[in-house]
Each structure stands twice: as C-alpha cells, then as structure tokens.
C-alpha cells in the first residue's frame, strides 16, 4: 500500500524534481564556469535561495494542490490509514527535495572539489544547507497543512520564513545569545545554516534542539493531518 502511495506522490512530484535539478545544475555550472565570483560565493548565491524556495514549491504540491483539486478527499476514502498517507507524502517530499541537491552536490564536488574549496568543505556545506531546508520544509508543511490553494500555501510559507527572520533580528539586536544563552539562536532553523562558523559546543546545541524541534513538528503534522476534515458537509 505504501508503495502505491509513494508511486502516486512520485508521479506528481517528478516534474518539479526534474525542473529543480536542471535549474540548480544549470545555474551552478554557469556560475562556476564563468568564475564571476569565488566558488563559495557562487554556491551560496545560488543554493541558499534554492534551499528556501524548493521546499515551498514541493510542499504546495503535497497538500494545497490536492485540497484545491479535491483529490485529497478521494485519497482518504481508500482503506489506508492517514499515518500511511502522511508518511508517503513526507517521504516523497523529502526525496523530491534532497534529490536535486544530491545530484548537483555530487556534480559540483566532482567538478570543482579542491579548486578553491576542498571536497569535504563543499560536501559539508551542502549537508548543512540541506538540513536547514528540511527543517524549514517541516515548519511550512505544519503551518500550511490546511491551505486549500497553492497561493495561500506560498503566503503561509513566506510568513513562516518572515517569523524566523524577525526572530533572528531580535536575537541579534538584543544580544540574546550573550545575555540569555546560545539556545535562543539555536531554536532558529537559520542557525543550521551558520554551523560552519559555530563553536563545537554550539554545534551540538543546534543539532540537539533542531532534532527535538523536527520530531515535534513531525508529531504536530501527524496530529493535524489525522484531524483534517476533508470533503463537503
């Protein structure tokens, strides 16, 4: 049953994966070939926005589009538990998100690893960006689960990003990491993106807190999806 659900999700997401891979690969290749910026600059300028935009586009297709087209009400009348439906959607979403980064990351490591940055540094950077994207993806899915339109999902996702942006500004402005503790910044998904510059103890604070948050988001998503009312009265 899970296989059938995954097949359906993959059929719906595959063109987004293909498009994202082509776009990411193309832009990175152009940037690295022309050398208009140092390699690190090219990767940051192309991959950082992709880390933020791609989860929004993928998440939109998982629930909002299905709700808009009223196919989610068709899906949930099948003899399959909501946990399995959600698991298939989340797994498909993660695969669809990770695949373009994995393909492009490998290509970049093979092509320019050791030129300005070591392959290990490049790979580490990609893992960090991917992890940040996954946590943002989870926040957006939880906040946008009830959206019935793609546009609303995008708006909700932008609000989520905005909230974490404001949080980052507040932490910075009030020097909360110094006055209260590093955990005030480690709560923010963008803290994952800054792990390259963090001390070892701070790295563990971020990893622990973000793992707990991710587990909580997963539980929240399951709980909300289980109670989701679909169809008309």
């Amino acid at each position: 049953m899970l296989k059938a659900l995954l097949w359906k999700e993959w059929q719906e997401q595959r063109w987004r994966v293909a498009l994202a891979t082509v776009w990411l690969l193309g832009m990175t290749a152009i940037g690295l070939k022309t050398r208009i910026l140092p390699d690190i600059g090219v990767v940051m300028i192309i991959w950082n926005p992709a880390t933020i935009i791609l989860p929004v586009l993928l998440g939109m297709g998982l629930f909002a589009t299905e709700r808009k087209e009223r196919t989610l009400s068709y899906l949930i009348v099948h003899p399959v538990s909501r946990s399995q439906i959600l698991a298939a959607k989340v797994m498909a979403g993660l695969v669809a998100y990770v695949a373009p980064f994995l393909v492009c990351g490998l290509m970049v490591c093979l092509a320019v690893g050791g030129r300005e940055l070591s392959t290990a540094d490049l790979a580490g950077g990609f893992v960090i960006m991917g992890a940040m994207g996954i946590v943002l993806f989870a926040w957006q899915l939880l906040a946008g689960l009830r959206c019935r339109r793609g546009e609303t999902y995008i708006l909700v996702s932008v609000i989520v990003l905005g909230c974490w942006g404001v949080h980052a500004a507040v932490v910075e402005e009030w020097r909360l990491t110094e006055n209260v503790g590093y955990w005030t910044w480690a709560l923010n998904p963008f803290a994952i993106g800054n792990l390259n510059y963090a001390k070892p103890s701070e790295v563990w604070t971020v990893i622990t807190l973000q793992s707990l948050i991710l587990a909580g988001l997963g539980f929240g998503l399951w709980s909300r999806f289980r109670r989701l009312r679909e169809g008309r009265s």
Binding site: K3, A4, K8, E69, P79, S81, R229, E230, S233
Partner: protein, 301 residues
C-alpha cells in the same frame, strides 16, 4: 434481510455550534437497496462521512458491516464500495493506471471482474481521466467501488450532474446488477424519482433527524391523502398523524401518516361521504414529511 448491514445509534454531529445531525437512529437491512433522502444540506453527506470514519461524531455510535468506523475505519472502507457526489480522481492517471493503483488497497480486488466492468461500462483503458466525460467519470468511480466485490455499497448522490438519460442508464445497469448480487446499497439522493423504482427501504432525513424510515411499499400503503369538503367544524389537531393540510377553494387535502379507522371516522364526521382517498408517490410522501405543516397553520373551519 433480517440482519443489519449498517446501524446508526443516537448520532450527533455539529460544526461548531451548527448542528448537522441531531440524534440520528437508523438500521439498514442486509441486501436491501436503501434510499437515504433529504434536501440539500440535510446532513446526508455528513452522515455518510461518519459511516466511513472520515469524521468523528460528538456522540453516538455506528456500525458498518460489523465494524465501528471510529475504531476501525480501514476495515470499514475495505468492506464498503463508496462513490462520492461529483467525485474527483487524479486526472493525470490513465484508466488502467487508476485500476492498478486502486487494486493495491484491496486484498479482495477481482481483476477479471474489473475487466468485465470496464467493458460493460464502455471505458477506454488507455484514456486519461481528464479526457473522460462526466458520465464516464461516474462509471469509472463506480467500477473502482465495485471491483473489490464489497458487501455494502454507499452511493452519495452519484448521478449528480449527469443528464437524465445517463442517470436512467446508471440506475438500470448498476442498481439492478447490485440487487442481483445481494449487495446492500445505501443510496443517498435528493432526486426522488430516481430512488422510487429501485429502493425497497427509504429513510427521510430532515434538519439532522430521521423523520421516517420504512420499507417503500409500507410507506405507499400507509401514507394517504384525503380530499374532502368539510361541512362541519373540524379540529385537525384531533386527527392522529396529520402530516400536511392544504386548503384551496373550500377543498381540503389532508395527508396522514397512518390512515386508520380513527382517522377515517374523524374525517367522515366532518365531511360525510364526500371524502376521496388517494395513494401518494415518494415525491409527495417526502414533501409531506419535510415541508408538511402538520395542520398547524390551517385555521379550523
């Protein structure tokens, strides 16, 4: 037909403060074609969603094929074939793809029967769902609901949006087929002329309550309309089971729930021998229950 396929006991459901179902009780006999009638917004779809475990009631219980939808929704959906009103499927799939995909959810899926229905319903296996007509879409939804050979089929206004010929064809082919197989059919509709020729049981849902549930023949036999011209003063409140009274040019049409001797005597006392007794069709019976004035708004003459 002695056993119960679907049982609903004191079911309550509300969206916030808006009550949708207010103490619904219903038993659907096994093997029957059960017409579930109600106006638009009466709560038919909500009741069906509760039966399938898609919604949770505030209180009350229901059982479908011996399973409780609240604790074992997957078993209920496995035992039931369901067609929703104006059902939307994945329009990027081909007919053969959705058949294969749906079959993976049902251990009892009968591939040979699915192919037989595919030919019988005249559906193109290679055709994409988005290219199918409304009628073909409904037939495909039905095929998907029947190919696992369910013991109970729940049809929620399945012919909504079809033209009259397609509706007749659908009823003729489907209900007859299911009746012959002894499948219980729970058929919700607001088009009474659709239900009348095929339903052997009928329940009328109005404002969240079942106002009547009985075999169709029994309804036709017991609910009568009396046409009379009262000569003496008549107090309608004394006549038992009055559903509706319509008065026009001195002529009264009194619809009663159970036309017993007491009723006939009360009417004869008021109008003498000038009382005509008429049988009613399902449409008129439904109207009497749902918009009947119970004789309240008619002043005694």
């Amino acid at each position: 037909m002695s056993e119960t396929a679907i049982s609903i006991t004191d079911l309550h459901f509300a969206y916030g403060r808006h009550k949708i179902l207010d103490g619904v009780n219903l038993d659907v006999p096994q093997g029957s074609v059960f017409g579930f009638l109600g106006r638009n917004g009466a709560g038919k779809t909500t009741a069906i969603q509760l039966l399938l475990g898609l919604l949770a009631p505030q209180s009350g219980r229901c059982s479908v094929g011996g399973h409780d939808p609240q604790t074992d929704a997957v078993a209920v959906r496995r035992a039931v074939g369901y067609v929703a009103e104006d059902q939307r499927m994945y329009d990027w799939m081909r007919v053969e793809q959705i058949l294969k995909w749906t079959s993976s959810f049902y251990p009892t899926w009968d591939h040979a029967y699915a192919q037989q229905l595919l030919r019988q319903f005249d559906l193109p296996p290679k055709g994409k769902i988005k290219t199918l007509s409304k009628g073909q879409n409904t037939r495909l939804a039905l095929l998907l609901a029947l190919a696992h050979r369910p013991r109970i089929v729940i049809l929620d206004d399945p012919t909504l949006g079809l033209d009259p010929i397609a509706r007749k064809e659908f009823l003729r082919s489907v209900i007859t087929l299911l009746q012959a197989q002894g499948t219980t059919v729970f058929f919700s509709s607001h088009l009474l002329y659709e239900i009348e020729p095929v339903a052997d049981w009928v329940a009328i849902l109005d404002r969240g309550r079942i106002v009547k549930a009985a075999p169709t023949d029994e309804l036709r036999d017991t609910i009568r309309r009396f046409v009379l011209r009262p000569k003496a003063s008549m107090d309608l409140s004394k006549i038992p089971g009055v559903l509706d009274v319509a008065r026009q040019d001195g002529q009264w049409n009194v619809t009663v729930e159970t036309a017993g001797a007491e009723t006939r005597a009360a009417l004869s006392a008021a109008a003498g021998d000038d009382v005509e007794e008429l049988g009613l069709n399902l449409d008129e019976i439904f109207e009497a229950y749902v918009i009947g004035n119970r004789g309240r708004e008619v002043a005694p003459c």
